[in-house]
Amino acid sequence: MKRLIAALAATTCLTAPALADDEKIVVGFATAETGFMQAYDKPAQDAAMIRIAEINAAGGLLGKQIEVVNADTKTDRAEGAKAGLSVIDAGADMVVVSCDYDFGSPAALAAESAGLPSFFLCAESIKAGIQGVGPNSFSASVLAAVQGATMAEWAYTKKEARTFYRLLDTWTEYNKGICDGFDWMLPRLADATLAGEDTFLNEDASIAAQITRIKALPEEPDAIMLCTMMPGAVSAIKQIRAAGINSMILNGSGVDGSYWLSAVPDLSNFFVPVQGSIYGDDPNPEVTAFNAKYKEATGGDPSTQYVYPGYVMIDVWAKAVERAGTVETSAVVAELEKMTGEPTLFGPRTFTSEIHHQNQARYLIVETNAGKPGVVDEWTISEAIPVADLMK
């Protein structure tokens, strides 16, 4: 009977026993090891592990080694809650949750109610933080709205785009976030106009009707703000170009990567904002060095920029712990909220008591030309997007 209970107690996959050990600091990963989200969580988690390994190699945090416990969310919300509780039971001092806000929040809520800080691996919704989960929750990435706003302002300033077309895939909050940022920025750009707008759904087999609407415009728009994500993005891009529309296409970071470019041969006039370049041409040579380290650790190059937030996350958290001198939640959160323009490998990071997310950030602009992506510019939006506008 005892053994049975012990087995039941280990109900979700714990790789370390529950110990309240003062000799080490425990980071709990309640992330997807299987299912749909696995492909998104794993790369960022690998990057986080690289930073942890670096810290441990340099003598640890507050002189203690960082240990990691894992629990699988199976890309399921109810399982996510269980996974969160599992890592908390295993003594986590900080809980890392799934990349996506929807899949990460059950575990983050579990951490919040246990009074522990939580970090979303790469969620880009304002709700992945104070506004959704609670005062101890953070996200390691940059808001989706910043991406939309960045693209609009950059295309206006550097590419003289004046007429914009807004094509929104209503499938996820992330997509809407990009378009919200675009909507916020557009009126701030003198004489820029919205030539039209339309919606589609990521799983739509065909967006022919939406394309027909663009083609019915008297003039091709200068730029199409495409607020979507994989896998629908490839389909949409392919269909837009196949219909003979050659406007510049502006995107969120979700379409970063060269792995899909073979589907749209010789794609040009295509722009993506990224936190760091996976193409080996980042202006910061340390990023390229990190890429090499990543390849060494995982056997493959980073496939998208979403690897990087995992590294940033451990970096800023560890700094906060070091400064606070403890892993105690309120002290760590207070230190994090003091960070203003904190330099990281992937641009400066700021947290305040109002927002645990980046509402203004430096982005590199990647242009894909004749099927070859490369960094062409960098851009930081002229003003931070106010929290009130993000919450509407």
């Binding site: 299987t34 299912g35 749909f36 989200m37 696995q38 492909a39 998104y40 890309t75 209503t170 707008e197 339309d198 919606t199 759904l201 799983e203 739509d204 087999a205 065909s206 022919a208 009707a209 939406q210 027909t212 609407r213 083609k215 019915a216 994989m230 896998p231 629908g232 490839v234 389909s235 392919k238 269909q239 170009r241 196949a242 219909a243 003979g244 990567g257 060269s258 792995y259 899909w260 470019l261 073979s262 589907a263 749209v264 041969p265 493959g300 496939s303 998208t304």
Partner: protein
């Protein structure tokens, strides 16, 4: 004028996809009253068969590099093969089971196929350049239409004509139609049950593979869930077409494609996001007024 023509083409292209999928489902429903929920996963499987198993983000192309005249038969054979295999391994044992049991079994089978793909390829959608020559636009009477759209419509019409010829002119086709109407009676006339059912599965699988080719070249993506949405629409088409009526399934498939396209065109921007709600509402209305379907197959009594 050009834009009206364009809308017609858009509707026909989307409708073609639904019609092909509905046909695949109606064929199997006809001979064994099975609502096959694994159909969408056969579609996905047919596309993934072009790739080597790998969980990397970059797709490792395998059969996808074949020239088109080998590639198309290869994919069709994969779809038909998987479909026939599922009949032999699973559905054959459910011949006498009630429709609910069969349906759940097909769902479980689809689940197995989907997670098998997930294990081999991970969930990240893979990009493939399938028949890239088809991505060029062509000009017809003032409308610039993607070549692929044109081909989709042509292929659908060709498949439909071919299928009609097959069903009307060949002995096997005749037996299949008879079996679809009254399976027991057909057997009492010496029609071999296993052959007809396997034939239906093979055809249905090949149709799934045809959709896979079209979706694959249209979206440039191999995605584990790529068949799901088309399959759901196809079910609806099969039912509102009249379960067991092949002509009804095709008609309803085109109709659904047309309704979805027209809704996208006429709805105001704020209501466009609710497009699917309107489409499904229309489906309920059709069912209320014609529960037996638009073209009900005579003599098809439902075994419930």
């Amino acid at each position: 004028m050009g834009s009206l023509l364009q809308v017609i083409f858009d509707a026909a292209a989307l409708g073609s996809l639904y019609a092909l999928a509905a046909l695949g489902i109606a064929l199997i429903f006809g001979v064994m009253r099975l609502v096959n929920f694994a159909h969408g996963d056969v579609i996905a499987f047919s596309v993934f068969a072009l790739l080597w198993p790998s969980v990397d983000a970059v797709a490792v192309v395998f059969a996808g590099n074949l020239p088109w005249f080998l590639l198309i038969p290869f994919v069709l054979a994969i779809g038909a093969g998987l479909s026939v295999l599922s009949e032999i391994v699973v559905f054959r044992r459910f011949r006498r089971a009630n429709p609910a049991t069969m349906m759940i079994a097909s769902f479980a089978l689809g689940f197995v196929i989907r997670y098998f793909l997930l294990m081999l390829f991970s969930s990240r959608p893979k990009s493939i350049s399938l028949l890239p020559a088809l991505s060029q636009p062509v000009e017809i009477m003032g409308a610039r239409i993607p070549l692929l759209q044109l081909i989709t419509i042509t292929v659908t019409i060709a498949v439909l004509l071919g299928l009609i010829a097959f069903l009307r002119r060949t002995r096997f086709g005749l037996e299949m139609r008879a079996a679809a109407e009254n399976f027991t009676m057909a057997r009492m006339l010496g029609v071999r049950a296993n052959r007809v059912i396997m034939g239906a599965f093979a055809l249905s699988g090949a149709l799934a593979a045809a959709i896979a080719l079209i979706l694959g070249s249209q979206t440039g993506t191999a995605n584990i869930m790529m068949g799901a949405n088309v399959m759901l629409m196809a079910f609806i088409a099969t039912v509102i077409g009249g379960m067991g009526s092949l002509a009804g399934a095709v008609l309803a498939g085109f109709l659904l494609g047309a309704v979805a396209t027209v809704m996208q065109v006429i709805l105001p921007p704020d209501a466009r996001a609710f497009r699917d709600a309107f489409v499904y509402g229309a489906v309920i209305l059709v069912l209320i007024f014609r529960p037996q379907g638009l073209l009900s197959a005579r003599g098809t009594k439902e075994r419930v």
